[in-house]
Symmetry: C2
Subunit: 281 residues, 2 copies
């Protein structure tokens, strides 16, 4: 997601100088070699790439985008506190907020403004980066307190300039909503696959329904263990409601209650039809 | 699915005469007007289309494919018994077997051989038909007894000639496997959507993960009420196992057991990676 943001900033002309750090050696090699069209020729996406972020020219940096797993953020915020200027803004792209926003705000104050772009996929690394990833995306900004620096608030305009819609909500609202729309579905897809017997006979029998339903069960287990535990209170509340629904459905199956079962399925379909999803690309 | 089969039979040259019946008036109109390339020009897909199947020239019919919802099959088998010849073969395309195969076999004997092509999608009707639907598809044939007519067994060769793989299994094996790979995922996707609060705030927050996870919750509620109830014993067994898995995961979230949670997620991902799914088209 960081690589796609770098491409989008360059292709739309919103970056003066761009520095990259971290990632795998292969990612850094690809990032350092990447170019974008400028004038009659091309120019490098990044002015400088370093494995060790300590080696970047921090005095020049106006904006830091930390595009790493949630588990790494608190330590990175602590390092950034030593490196960045008083006017430098810091953001992240993490899909769970809560304590992260509290720790970022404690360390960096109003210069930190957390973001969660509702984009992504199974592919990772700079090789998967595309300048179009954020077009028409929804960006959730989750300020950590009352005192957000006006420069940090200009992040909203930057995302909008990249073609995104922006919505502000509190870290708690974010985590409750994402528990419903992302974290519980991941838990269910993993739970479903884990509940299957390990049978050769089943492996051939998955159609397009199962293919799509279970796709997110191929997400990175370490990343999702961390996300689910960080947001476990909201996830467990949503899971509790789902378990009541499953108990109810099981009872209706036992009773053979076609009318009641049909009502719930029709309600579920109507609710799904009200959602606005990103198009398949 | 019936329309796609008719197109596939014509495009590959496996039909001498084709008759269509049933469906909506719009479907019948589209089917009657549909053509396929033959020689230097085109020819109609169907030689005859009738709203009332009683009006078809039944003495000419060698093979009947009943492509209607499971709830309608038993009655149709009873009608067919009056119309078809001693040598005519009957099949269906239903996604749940059990009593249907028993009733078809009781009425039609070894002339009936039930089939379930693992294909499909949300689109219905002749307008969604495509000659390529069955290419590379897996077809499950579920003989109802020991005495299958050799002509019925030639159905296997017909499906293979259309580019399909065929597997034979008993109606009970079919329904247990499909409970796992299709019916329970549908129940879960419906249950998940039904368990959400009806909140405007959530409707914008679905990403590609939720989009794919919940797609099957837009399936026809009446059809799926019928499928789930017809196969409720196997579905409830699978649901019971899933509920144990969810209880276990809830406990691990409560305890904050990262290692155990990570193990289950990794097991789930490995199992998903072993499945062979149809490609997205």
């Amino acid at each position: 997601m960081g690589g796609s943001l770098a491409l989008a900033l360059r292709h739309r002309g919103y970056a003066h100088r761009l520095f990259g750090a971290g990632g795998s050696p292969e990612d850094l090699r690809l990032a350092a070699a990447a170019e974008y069209p400028r004038g009659d020729g091309t120019a490098p996406i990044f002015d400088l790439c370093r494995e060790d972020p300590a080696e970047l020219p921090w005095a020049e940096v106006d904006l830091v985008v930390v595009a790493t797993p949630p588990a790494t953020l608190a330590e990175i915020f602590g390092q950034l506190r030593e490196w960045i200027s008083e006017t430098c803004v810091v953001t992240d792209l993490a899909s769970v907020k809560g304590d992260l926003v509290a720790s970022g705000t404690a360390l960096l104050g109003g210069r930190y403004l957390s973001a969660h772009p509702l984009v992504g996929g199974e592919r990772h690394g700079f090789a998967a980066a595309t300048a179009e990833l954020y077009v028409d995306a929804l960006i959730l900004l989750t300020p950590g307190g009352e005192e957000v620096d006006p420069r940090a608030l200009s992040l909203q305009q930057l995302w909008e300039a990249l073609g995104c819609r922006v919505r502000m909500l509190s870290p708690g609202e974010h985590d409750d909503a994402l528990a419903a729309t992302s974290h519980l579905p991941h838990l269910l897809a993993y739970a479903f696959m884990a509940s299957l017997d390990d049978s050769d006979a089943l492996r051939d029998l998955g159609g397009s329904g199962l293919r799509d339903f279970s796709r997110i069960a191929e997400s990175d287990p370490a990343l999702w263990t961390d996300i689910l535990l960080r947001n476990r209170e909201a996830v467990r509340r949503r899971l509790q409601t789902l378990r009541h629904t499953l108990d109810h459905l099981d009872g209706l199956l036992a009773q053979g209650s076609a009318a009641d079962l049909g009502d719930i399925l029709a309600t579920a379909r109507a609710r799904r039809q009200q959602f606005r999803f990103p198009p398949r690309t």
